[in-house]
């Protein structure tokens, strides 16, 4: 490996701009301000340019590339907010036509380019991955040499190094002990060597950037793990009041969990309540105060066979509200939606049209109607057809939209001693169509409803990794941005005393330290070359 040997005897890796021991500029001796960014150490990637692997490595090592990646991700993320993402458009619509019909040609282009699912697209994930790569490589390439450089720095620096600092002064007749004492009183760590001083404060802040990058990498790893099987469950569970349902994602071989919905509660704000009076009177509808499900959690024995009537053991009761999920094992249930007054049972009476006389009542369970209802004395009703959510289809035939009893309709056959062959009628909500001239009809006699609650079922084994990453990131950012690394060098040069100072940020603070120092000793105030040059 090529090395550069400095006149102080220290041998530096190729690419070094300031000698890692004494600080002498190695590339040129011209009087410019030294770039202290990484202590003038060689960025490792710059050192080797051999194989293809090195080339890739060098590419990702560049901060310029990293910033470009940030900017590209930023722009892509912004594009994704122009129109709603696919997950936010109404369910059961075809995205292909939805974007065009809602947002016109622009919407169509948006859809065709795949921006409707931008954040889950392969190229967005690749961008994030490349950013991760860039963070890792750039940190390795800079962090390690910086660590070495700061660790090996000497007290006595080269004259040229001193002169090239932004803050510099030459004084005479300075009491070094006085300077040392003052610096220590400012809580600098001071080292002495042959009458020269090196004072530093807040070195740990230089590690902030690397600490926060570690945090980011952990965070991204957590985000990546979410895609791995078994780490993550996201499902929705609808339960009717008074019913039990198995919780998706919980395994039958370990004992399946069941949830019973005891009650769903919906509370509204009282319009008369004084403090919100003016706000509530200006909105049309009511404002919700609380969505709540009172539930009971059950568990089956292990090795429960799916579908078999479960033998349930009660685990616990709970209340689920928005912002107050219900937790068990590694699962959490969140209140997400509800449906009020779903039709559950419908009652009818068999009525003789001419007399209005009634021959018994039947109650149809809309989730499981009987085939036959015997009303006694030779009267009975049969259900020929049942449409839970009635609609006339394209062929003008009665059919059902789905299996939810939102608009129930029936074809009844009514039998009586007078009409042993039976009479048919189509009965729905506010519909009664007879096949021919009937003697009897089904008259509506009441309805029972139930509320439903919808709960999001969530298991997320990646949370702790994400949280850890977040904490480390915040520590790193704070460490790096709220503290700064200040250094002051004092060197005796024959009759003179040279002073130079550097900080990675907050020059204002450093200057205040130096003013205080100049005040307390004979040291000349350090001049700021950047200000003078303007």
């Amino acid at each position: 490996m090529q090395t550069i040997t400095c006149e102080c005897g220290h041998s530096n890796p190729y690419g070094t701009s300031l000698c890692q021991a004494c600080g002498k500029p190695l590339e040129n001796d011209v009087e410019v301000l030294s770039s202290m960014r990484y202590e003038g150490s060689a960025r490792r990637s710059q050192t080797y340019k051999k194989t293809i692997v090195d080339h890739i490595w060098n590419f990702f090592s560049s901060v310029r590339v990293g910033v470009w990646l940030i900017v590209i991700i930023l722009v892509a993320a912004a594009i994704g907010t122009i129109f709603p993402q696919e997950t936010f458009i109404p369910p059961n619509v075809d995205p292909a036509s939805h974007y065009e019909s809602e947002y016109g040609t622009l919407g169509l282009i948006y859809y065709l380019l795949g921006f409707h699912n931008l954040y889950g697209s392969w190229w967005f994930i690749i961008l994030l991955g490349m950013l991760g790569l860039s963070i890792i490589i750039a940190s390795l390439d800079r962090g390690i040499p910086l660590y070495k450089a700061l660790k090996t720095q000497r007290v006595t620096r080269h004259d040229q190094f001193m002169k090239n600092q932004r803050l510099f002064s030459v004084s005479k007749e300075v009491e070094i002990e006085e300077v040392k004492y003052t610096l220590e009183s400012l809580r600098y760590k001071v080292r002495e060597e042959n009458g020269n001083l090196f004072a530093e404060k807040g070195r740990f802040s230089r590690w902030g950037a690397y600490v926060n990058h570690v945090g980011l990498i952990i965070f991204l790893t957590g985000g990546m793990l979410r895609f791995f099987p078994g780490m993550y469950v996201d499902d929705v569970l609808w339960v009717r009041e008074g019913e039990k349902a198995s919780i998706p994602g919980t395994k039958s071989d370990e004992g399946q969990y069941y949830l019973e919905n005891n009650e769903f509660i919906l509370e509204m704000y009282d319009k008369e309540e004084k403090k919100f009076n003016s706000a509530l009177s200006s909105v049309d509808g009511e404002v919700a105060k609380n969505y709540q499900s009172n539930v009971t959690l059950y568990k089956t024995e292990p090795n429960h066979t799916i579908g078999e009537e479960p033998e349930l053991i009660k685990v616990k009761d709970g209340e689920i509200r928005v912002n107050e999920p219900f937790k068990f094992d590694s699962f959490a249930l969140y209140q997400t939606d509800f449906k009020l007054n779903e039709f559950n049972k419908m009652s009818f009476e068999l009525e003789e049209k001419s007399t209005g006389k009634k021959f018994g009542k039947l109650t149809v369970d809309l989730h499981e109607p009987e085939k036959k209802y015997d009303l006694g004395n030779g009267y009975r009703v049969e259900i020929e057809e049942y449409f839970p959510n009635f609609i006339l289809n394209e062929q003008k035939q009665p059919s059902t939209i789905n299996n939810l009893p939102d608009n129930p309709a029936f074809v009844f056959s009514m039998y009586s001693p007078q009409t042993p062959k039976g009479e048919k009628a189509f009965v729905g909500i506010q519909k009664n169509i007879e096949a021919g001239e009937n003697k009897f009809k089904m008259s509506f006699a009441g309805i029972e409803t139930k509320d439903l609650t919808a709960l999001t079922v969530r298991k997320d084994h990646t949370l702790w990794i994400i949280a850890l990453g977040g904490i480390i990131f915040m520590i790193g950012v704070t460490q790096g941005l709220y503290w700064n690394y200040r250094r002051i060098w004092i060197k005796q040069n024959q009759e003179e005393v040279w002073a130079a100072a550097h900080t990675n940020k907050n020059w204002y603070g450093l200057k205040k330290d130096l003013e205080f120092l100049a005040d307390k000793s004979n040291l000349m105030p350090l001049a700021d070359k950047e200000v003078n040059s303007k």
Partner: protein, 174 residues
């Protein structure tokens, strides 16, 4: 030194590329998380069919099982039913069984439907959607192919043509 550097860099890059690649793969087949997919063991279940008979998946071990999830209101399900019936008649003798699990509908509706299409294969009634949930069924129809060892060898949510059904039958024929 140079060798070491090369291997270190190559290894790190490779790990990251594989991790990103696998993430993308999983994000494309996002359904794979909790759902039963190709290669898994088909979880056993017990249901009562339309005629009141107990149907347990494990009893079909040794046979290929064409496990279809459907509903009477779903048009694509309706389209593939006659094909399924016809191929059932052919392949039943060759050891392939069709289980057409109905997703949470009423006996009245399903009975009418089954009569209309003269369906003779068992129709297990998943009233509580227990099996539907355990198999992670999203859109219907979804067909899961189980081989004679009880292993899932295929899963699709498309509406099937008769040719497709035949090829599936051939695949799971013991």
């Amino acid at each position: 030194m140079k060798k070491k550097r090369f291997w270190f860099r190559s290894a790190l890059l490779a790990i990251l590329v594989i991790a990103i690649g696998y993430t993308i793969y999983n994000s494309i087949y996002e359904d794979s998380g909790t759902y039963i997919k190709k290669g898994d063991k088909a979880p056993n279940f017990v249901l009562t069919d339309l005629n009141g008979n107990r149907v347990e998946l494990e009893d079909y071990r040794g046979k290929g099982v064409f496990l279809n999830f459907w509903g009477t209101w779903c048009k694509p399900c309706e389209r593939e039913m006659p094909y399924m019936q016809r191929q059932y008649e052919t392949y039943k003798k060759q050891g392939v069984e069709i289980l057409a699990v109905n997703v949470s509908e009423t006996n009245v509706s399903v009975k009418n439907f089954a009569d209309r299409y003269r369906l003779s294969f068992p129709i297990p009634m998943d009233k509580q959607r227990e099996v539907t949930k355990a198999y992670g069924i999203g859109p219907i129809p979804t067909t899961i192919l189980i081989d004679k060892n009880g292993k899932v060898v295929g899963r699709t949510s498309e509406s099937l043509s008769e040719e497709k059904i035949i090829s599936f039958m051939e695949k799971i024929k013991p």
